[in-house]
């Protein structure tokens, strides 16, 4: 096994270790922060330049996956800069940065993990620090309650996922996704069980895996934790939970679906159900919200419902469309939540008070672009994301689902336009809310909007990348 292929991971782990030592000796947040930034930069460089394809020891590293990881690390760097005044706040000990670092490592590992054990370990390494991060504001009852809910439901979900893995291991006899795929094709595990028992266990494992994954994405039956955590946790933790873990979960789901592609009818029926119900539930519930962060949680439920519909298509183009959708969604939530990063006491930021954002006109324009993109209006990337999903849905000539999906997304317009109305059209007194907008972070958000417009008009390169990721993963 060529251990040198894992250099980006070593850089991140090295960074973590150095930070642990700094925390132990000097306990200065700024130094930890800079070390974290440095390790990020090194990892990003390694990801981009020093790429060696490896398929061994439960790992599968391909160029396209490294490119995807490069994008994730770029996003982490953006997060690193945007949330610095939260992380370096004197209320919290510098060690909270370690939690973010470890979660990042788990995330990167999850994207290249190729066997059930690695997937489970990386998943838990990604999630456990987040349970702790959610509870970092120890004086705020609501934040603790949110963290508790996140923890308990998270534990249940990972147990369900684990049960799925166990049953998968039961019917195939191996935990490496490649061999699982082959074993399922030749039905190797028949000798242990009778054929229909074998099929039942397979179905059960798919059911449990869908349950586990849809918890992490926040799809309908398993979404309950999201609104509470979005509302109560520290704003940069919310930004982290809402963006990067989702791309890792998407890659994981991709691998699981490809591995267990002989149970395709189970995956499709479940994903369709969960997807459509989430879109409907997310959009419907968001109509009634007036807390900004809670509304963003429900809108992300709706968007993840769309991602589930994309995964339902099961064809390489469909899954690439799903991945593209996820990347665009992450870009959009970076904008919508990144803007709120600068509003202090944002737990209580109501839709009615959005007029206050007008005090910084650029921020209002950026947020409006993000909202229109979430709604799926053409010049922005949101439209291209929806387009890729609907075109893949129609390719498998499933026009009914496409029509249902797009009509449900019209409901979303209700609350998106309410937000733009509150910002731009209301004339009454503007509530005074302190907004600490750094010049460079405003520039970064502006860069994100331009990137949103660029993808909205010329989405070709990103689509090619996602197609490469899916095709290189099709090792079967």
């Amino acid at each position: 096994m060529n251990w040198l292929a894992l250099t980006p991971e070593y850089a991140l782990i090295g960074g973590l270790l150095i930070n642990i030592v700094i925390c132990a000796i000097k306990d200065s947040g700024r130094l930890v922060h800079q070390a974290f930034g440095l390790s990020l930069a090194v990892a990003w460089l390694l990801c981009v330049f020093d790429v060696q394809a490896v398929q061994a020891a439960g790992l599968l590293i391909t160029e396209s996956m490294r490119a995807l990881q490069a994008i994730v690390l770029l996003a982490a760097g953006l997060f690193w800069y945007l949330s610095q005044n939260q992380m370096l706040d004197h209320l919290y000990r510098p060690s909270n940065i370690l939690l973010i670092q470890s979660s990042l490592i788990g995330l990167i590992m999850l994207m290249i993990a190729q066997d059930l054990l690695n997937i489970y370990i990386a998943l838990e390494l990604m999630s456990l620090p987040l349970y702790a991060m959610a509870a970092i504001r120890i004086w705020d009852k609501a934040s603790l309650e949110g963290a508790l809910k996140y923890f308990v439901t998270g534990a249940m979900a990972s147990a369900l996922l684990l049960l799925g893995f166990a049953l998968l291991y039961a019917i195939t006899g191996s935990i490496d996704l490649g061999t699982i795929g082959l074993a399922l094709k030749e039905k190797a595990g028949i000798k242990l069980f009778s054929p229909d028992m074998w099929m039942l266990l397979g179905g059960l494992s798919v059911a449990f895996m869908v349950a586990g994954c849809s918890f992490k994405l926040g799809l309908f039956p398993f979404h309950s934790w999201m609104p509470d955590v979005y509302q109560s946790a520290r704003i940069d933790v919310v930004l982290w939970v809402a963006t990067l873990p989702k791309i890792a979960i998407a890659v994981m789901m991709l691998k699981l679906i490809i591995a267990t592609s002989s149970f395709i009818m189970y995956w499709q029926s479940m994903l369709l159900l969960v997807g459509l119900v989430s879109v409907a539930f997310g959009n419907l519930m968001a109509l009634a919200q007036n807390n900004y962060r809670r509304l963003m949680a429900y809108s992300s439920i709706a968007h993840m419902g769309f991602f589930a519909l994309a995964m339902y298509v099961m064809s390489p183009e469909g899954m690439a469309g799903g991945l593209f959708y996820m990347l665009v969604y992450i870009l959009m939530s970076f904008i919508t939540l990144g803007v709120i990063l600068h509003v202090d006491r944002s737990e209580f930021f109501e839709i009615g008070q959005m007029r206050a954002l007008m005090s910084v006109p650029q921020m209002a324009v950026v947020l409006m672009a993000g909202i229109f993109s979430l709604a799926g209006i053409p010049p922005f990337a949101g439209f291209m994301a929806k387009l890729s999903i609907f075109s893949s849905l129609i390719q498998v000539n499933n026009v009914g689902v496409a029509i249902a999906g797009i009509l449900l997304s019209v409901i979303a317009l209700g609350y998106y336009l309410k937000m733009v109305k509150m910002m731009y059209f209301k004339e009454e007194e503007t509530p005074v809310i302190a907004i600490r907008a750094g010049r460079i972070s405003m520039l970064m958000l502006f860069g994100l909007t331009l990137c949103l417009l660029y993808i909205g008009i010329l989405p070709n390169q990103l689509m090619v990348l996602t197609q490469a990721v899916v095709s290189q993963n099709l090792f079967l």
Partner: protein, 645 residues
Amino acid sequence: MMSEIYTSLAGLVCFSPLIGALIAGFFAKRIGAFGAQFMTILCVAIAFASALVLFNYMYIEETRVFNYSLYTWIAMPGITFEVGFWLDRLSVGMMLVVTAVSLLVHIYSMGYMKGDPGIQRFFAYVSFFTFAMLMLVGGNNLLQVFFGWEGVGVASYLLIGFWFHKDSAANGAFKAFVVNRVGDFGFLLAMGLFVTYVGSLNFSDIFHRIPDLAAVSLGGMPLIDWICMLLFIGAMGKSAQMPLHIWLPESMEGPTPISALIHAATMVTAGVYLLVRLSPLFEFSPMIRSWILVIGATGGLILGMIAIVNHDIKRVVAYSTLSQLGYMMAAVGASAYGLAMFHLITHAFFKALLFLAAGAVIVAAHHEQDMRKFGGLIHSIPLVGVVFAIGSMSLMAVPLFSGFYSKDAIIAAIGATSLPGAHYAYYCLLMGVMVTSIYSVRAFYLTFLGQPRSNIHIHELSNTIKWPLIILAIPSMGLGYVLAPMAGNLHWFGEAIFYTHQSVTDLAGINGHLNHPGSMAMDAINSAPFILMLLSSFATYWIYRYSWAEKISKIFAPIQCLLENKWYFDWLVEQLLVPFVWIFSRAFNRVGDQLLIDQLMVMGPAKLLESFSLRIKAHISGHLYHYAILMLLGTAVLISKVVMI
């Protein structure tokens, strides 16, 4: 060589008033009131002169039609719409009449409108009207006639509503335009039939294709009847025939020169001119022609009677116009097109004279129009009295006056035709003669004779008002005598007017009469219309001389109230039609648009969704174990999916 002269002359006739209108309209500030008046009168004078030159070309040498198309308006596959001239004796005659009357009205209104702030605007509108009328008369296809038709409607809308600060003027203008549009609706459908069946709107193509138009039938009725009916509806709108006449009395709100020019001489006769111009068509649909005859005749009688009880001098003259138009339409119905044109021309002059005289009376009495306040004005404005008398006598068809030749010829022609309804029409028109003389003598007596009923200080009239009266008085007296022989011979208009064999035989007798007008006047003594006219005029003179009017009106009280309400036509529109439309539109707006579509279909779902989501939100309790239960239920559903497949 001749065609260049014709085109340039026709161009001059038609387009110089337009140039005058544009200059008076757009450069009003710079050239001032006098400049505007001068320019417009100069242009109309040029138009009149060139019409005169064209007239003598046409009448002396030419009998051929000169059809020249100026430019193609729009080209479609299979049909091209053009704008062009169609000069023959009929159109040049009309051009001459229009330009003559318009010139006189221009000069007259210099005096009449003196001191009015919007005088440039007035002159611009009048010359625009003249341009539109000349386009209508000179057009070589129905599209250009329609262009002139609507242009004239717009001009009358602007001019009736000239003193727009007056509510009555604004309502009158609106009513006139909408009623005209009802007529134009019919005209447009007729044009549609021509385009689809004949494939072109040019008169030359239409007249060639008449035989196969007669052959085709559409929905039971022969096509030619449909076309003639629709054209007649158009003519009814414009020439104020029976049901669509309600707008003419209100159009008296406009300044008097306008009533003279538009609502007596030119615009209202456009309908008659159209039917005469399309005489080859009407000759082949006797059924429609009998309808025209009946409607014209009833109009002639009934509308005339209203004038008997009316007190406003201008409205009396307006109702007399309505009844004379009925005569012209009846003549057209009896396919005596030449006589209709003859009456149209003579009527243009003596009716313009009557209006201008009435205008002079109104100016003299400081814009007072109610005849009950006049009386004995013959002493203060003798010239106007004499001129008014000439006009009335010509109107009443006193022999040797111009009205006599044209009106009695029409009555005789109608007596001679064999169309169904001809007898009814003949008797109506005879009664009409009686009614005409009653209201003319009444109007003359009330205004000029008898004791002055109120102490109006008579205002001295300027010569720009006096001279047009005198100039107009001459043709009112002499024109009939001069033109009678020409109107007599059927082929005098060349092939502009077409007579079937049947109508030629009917009309032969009357034309014989007209050829020597002198003897016609002599032996008119023992003709019925003359006797009726004499009797009724003396009777009215005696009634008003010994002021029995009140007693008589009490005897005929029901007829009096019937006439006062103008045969309930206005009542029919005001109380029935307008409220009905109002209820309809309010219902559509309230129920149809706002309630049904807007609230129910559009806002309904939005409100439903919002209330539904609020109800669900209340159910989310936030307890951890409820979340756990939800997750378990979700997993159970997923497992059931596995078991079922």
